[in-house]
Structure formats: structure tokens, C-alpha cells
Amino acid sequence: MSKGLAILGGLVAVAGVVMSSAMYTVDQTEQAMVMQFGNPQRQVSEAGLHFKMPFVQDVVYYDNRALDLDPPPGQVILNDQKRINVDAFARYRIVDPLRFFQALRTEDHLRDQVGRVLNASVRNSMARNSLSDLLSAKRDDIMSEIEQRLASETKDYGIQILDVRVVRTDLPPEISQNVYNRMRSERVKEANQLRADGEKAKLEITSRADRDKVVIIAEARRQSDILRGEGEGERNRILGAAYGQDPKFFAFYRSMTAYKASMGNGDANMVLSPNSDFFRFFSDQTGTQQ
């Protein structure tokens, strides 16, 4: 009885061990490859519970997600002889674990190998373009060209290139310094231009104001002269009309007024002849002399 139970217990234990060796799970983020004594047998891309031959088969897991590849930046000479530092990165996915296993085996190996291919593709594609191409809508074309080149060169590695992006395109320090110098001189030019513009605007505005002033005064003078002339003309007309009625009397009357006005205040020294008309009655009561 107890011996039978011990056998039963042993069988259960053995069955457990065998079962545990025959079952394996593949996570949603993984894919797997079943190996028999180190030889790849089949690949499993479906997540979940799977079975294999116990003990003789092993499972190797690979990531199923988008993976990143970011090789160190490299220097590229563009076709306008400008040198730039380019930092590119790629996203890829392992789509064929068997091929991946055969070609690269590990991700470290991939980083080294494919990273080098990526940098070479970047160099090749960029060397045929100028810096202004990189800084334009053509950048997309260049990136997709790099992507295609990388994809075709790595097609035997069991990976799919999802995306290649050029992160940084920096100028080397000495070229940056040139750019800074240029930027500075451009700004100095602009500042000088602005200041000169200010001087110009100032002179324009003030001289226009001065001109306006002169014109306004001159116009006022013109009009006031016209007015004064009108006044004087009117005066002549009025007086002419009045005096014209008897020019002789006017001459007499006006002379009298003028005499009085010019000599009537007592500052005149007069040398008179007794023969003048005023003294007519001096020597002759009748006044008939002369």
C-alpha cells in the first residue's frame, strides 16, 4: 500500500519535471526560437503557452518590439566641402529570429555591425548633398534614401528597419566659430544700418518740418502782402474818388495839411521874404502889391 503510494508520488514528480521541461511561454514582447542541441529548429512569434520536446530542446528568446540603434556620431564631408558631425539613429525589429541568429546572434553584435552600416549609409548619402540640402525639405528624401540603403544592406540579418532619423547635424567647433563670426558681423551690419536709418529718418523728418515752416511763413507773407496791397489800393480808390472831384482844391488843401503836419510843431527855422504872399498886407493895406 505505502509502496504503491510512493511509486505514485514518484510518477507524479517525474511527470511534473517532464511537463515543466516541455512547456514554455512566450511573452507579448518576445519571440522565441526552439533549438535542438544548439541547432535552430523553428521560430515562434505567437505569444502564449507553447510546447517542445523536453530536455533535448532549448528556447532562445528575442525581443519583438521596436529596438533602437544609436551608433556614435561620425563626421561627414558634404559635397560643398563642409564638414558636419552627424548623429543618426535607427529603429528596427527582429522579424526573422533564425536569420538573426545565424547572422548576428546577439544584439551587441548587431549594434556593432549594423551601426557601422548605418554610419556608412549616412556618409554615402550625405556626401552627395550640400549643407543647404540638409537644411531643406530635401532632408526627408535623404533620410529615406539612408533608410533604403540600410534596409538593403541588412536584408539578410533578419531585421526590418522601421525608421532612420538624423538627430543632430552639428558643425565642428572651428566651423561653428566661423558661423558665429558671420552671425556677429551680420548683426553688427544690421545694427549699423538701423542706426544710420535712424539718423536718416531724423534728418528727413526735421528737414521736412523746417521746409514746411519756411513754406508756411512764405505763404502767409504772400497772403498778407496781397491783403496789404488790397488795403492800399482801396485807400487810393477812395481818396482818388474824393480828391478827384477838384484836383486844384485838393492840391491846395493837401498842401496846407502837409505844411501843418510837417512844420506845425515849431521846430522849423524859417527865412521869409516880406514879399511873400503871406506878408501881402505888411506894406500895403490893400494887399495889391505883387
Binding site: 511534473g16 511573452d27 514582447t29 528556447v59 537644411l135 532619423r165 547635424t169 548683426r187 506845425g264
Partner: protein, 368 residues
Amino acid sequence: MSWKPQGGGGPWGNSGGGNGPTGGGTQPPDIEEMLRRSQDNLKNFMPGGGNSGRMVTLVIAAVFALWMFSGTYRVEAGHQGVVMLFGKHMPTKDSSPGLNWFFPSPIGKVFTPNVETVRRIDVGFRGSVQNTGFSRSVTPERAVLAESLMLTNDQNIIDVQFTVQWKVKDAANFLFSIRDPEGTVKVAAESAMREVIGQTNLENALTTDRQMVQDKTRESLQVILDDLKSGITILQVQLLKVDPPAQVIDAFNDVQSARQDLDRKKNEAEAYANKVVPTAQGQAAQMLQQAEAYKEQVTKEAEGEAKRFLSVYKSYKAAKDVTTQRIYLETMEAILKKSNKVIIDQKNGGAIPYMALPELNKSHGGQK
């Protein structure tokens, strides 16, 4: 008892299996321990038989119930439960906030990533976020020039610092599509920003096109992340600092001050013009008024003079000779009354008239 005889870490059990994104699995009870205990119980029970057999069955049932109960998990508000059966994602079992149940480990596994929190990535600087009441402010603490310096379309260099705000849109994609989602967002954001800045001129990037740069970068970044099925939605790309590089910023500031000089000079000139022209207009008005006054004056005076003459003339016409004589005499009288007079009869005397002009002048001056 391991489900996975070899290969680095299983999908559950030890944390090495998932170098995946955040989101905690449930803590399973130690299943091996439980099984060993039940086996021990089995051994103890076998020889005894009878009553203890029921005991053992009960214990096993209790352990099983406990194990099943350990499948209960809670999804916090703002989180989402992503459920996996033997490592395979079961979209239909995904759960929303609240208390849920799924097969406990090692059969099931649940991630509960936060899908509401707005996450932030800084590019060009490392900063800290302050939560001051309702507003969040970002304080740049340390600039990272390698990230922030970029080339503009006119081949100038510009210093750009920005933050990207994003959150999880699709929890399953977020967990299963990309190995390093945060790093991917960052690199993609940098790439997108550099692309957009590379197509913008320095002057525009510094001034008018900031909004455009933000919008275009956000769109472009979203496209990149969607292509990777990242399950991430970009809420905002926010430019914090867009400046010329530190090496040349003084020259740019000088341009600003030159621009202000220009305005100042213009204003000064305008002020001068505003003073000069109205003054001249005032002077002109004054001159016109004076001329007008002169015209009126002269006219009126002439009218008066004419009237006066006409009145005299009228009286003269009535008695011509007498009036003439009278006017003549009155005038002479008025003149001679006040004047110094010397009367010399040239006809009778032969005296040479000698006039002591200085004497006269003296008396003249004395009179004054």
C-alpha cells in the same frame, strides 16, 4: 519548478524578464512553496488514512482558493489594466479602474500603466517642475548645449530649449511596441525639432514663427511615433527658450538697442516737427491777421480822410475865395506861430543873408 528551463529570465517571476516599461505585475504567492507543502501533506496523509484524508482535501481546496483569490487586483483611477494569459496579451480582458480578477501567476499577468498622467521630456536642458497652486512652471537648471544648439535654414546656429508633454494613448502598444518609449520620444522630438528649425530662418524662428515651429514639431513627432505604433500621444511641444547662441547674443542685443535708437531718433524728430510746424502755422496766422488789420485800417482811414476832404470841399464850394484864403492864413498862422522866423527884404536891403547854422541847431536842440 520553473516554466522556462533556460534563457534569461522568464516573462514573470523575476523582474529581469521584462526590461519593459513601467507598470507593476501582481505579486503572486510562491507557488513552488505551496506545491511542496501540499505534497508534504499528501505524504503525511497517505499512511494515516481515514479522517485525515478529508483534512488534506480541505487544505488543498483552501490553498487553491487562496491562490485563485490572489488573482484579484486593483486598477487605480487613471490607470488601465493590461491582461496577459501565458504572456499573450488578451485585449478582451483589459480592465478599467476598479477591482478586477484574472488568473493569478503563473497563468496570468497584469500590467497597470498610468494612462492619464502627463509626462514630460526636456530637450536642451535638465530642469525641475514646480507645482505652484494651479500652474506648473518649468525651471531650466542646466543647459545641454549639445541638444539645444541647432542649425537654421540660413545656416545660422540657434539655441532652442523645449519640453514635450505626452501621455499614453494605447496602453498595450505603449507596453509592447517599443523597448524604450521615453528614450524614443526624446530622440524623435529632437530629430523633429531639428528638422523644423532646419527649414526655418533664424530671424523667423526667433520672432514670428515660434507657434509654427511648435505645431510642426508636434505633428511631425506624432507621425514618427505613430509609425512605430508607440501608443503615445503628444499633447504639446512647448518652446521655452529660443535664443541666439551665447557667443553672439550681445550682437543680437545690440541690434535690439539699435532698433530702439532708431525709434528714439524718429520720435525726437517727430517731436521737433510737432513743435516747429505748428509754431510756423501760428506765426502765419498772426501775419495774416496783422495784414487783415492793416487793410481794414488803411481803408477806414482813407474813408475818413475822404469824408473829411469832401466835407471841407463842400464848404469850399460855397465860398471859394474866402475859404481858400482862410485856410491858407490859418495854416500859415499855425506854422509861423511856433517857428523861428527871420524876415529879410532882399529887394530893398543888399544884405547877404548869413545864417548861423550851428546857432540855429543849438537853439533847435535846446528846444527839444
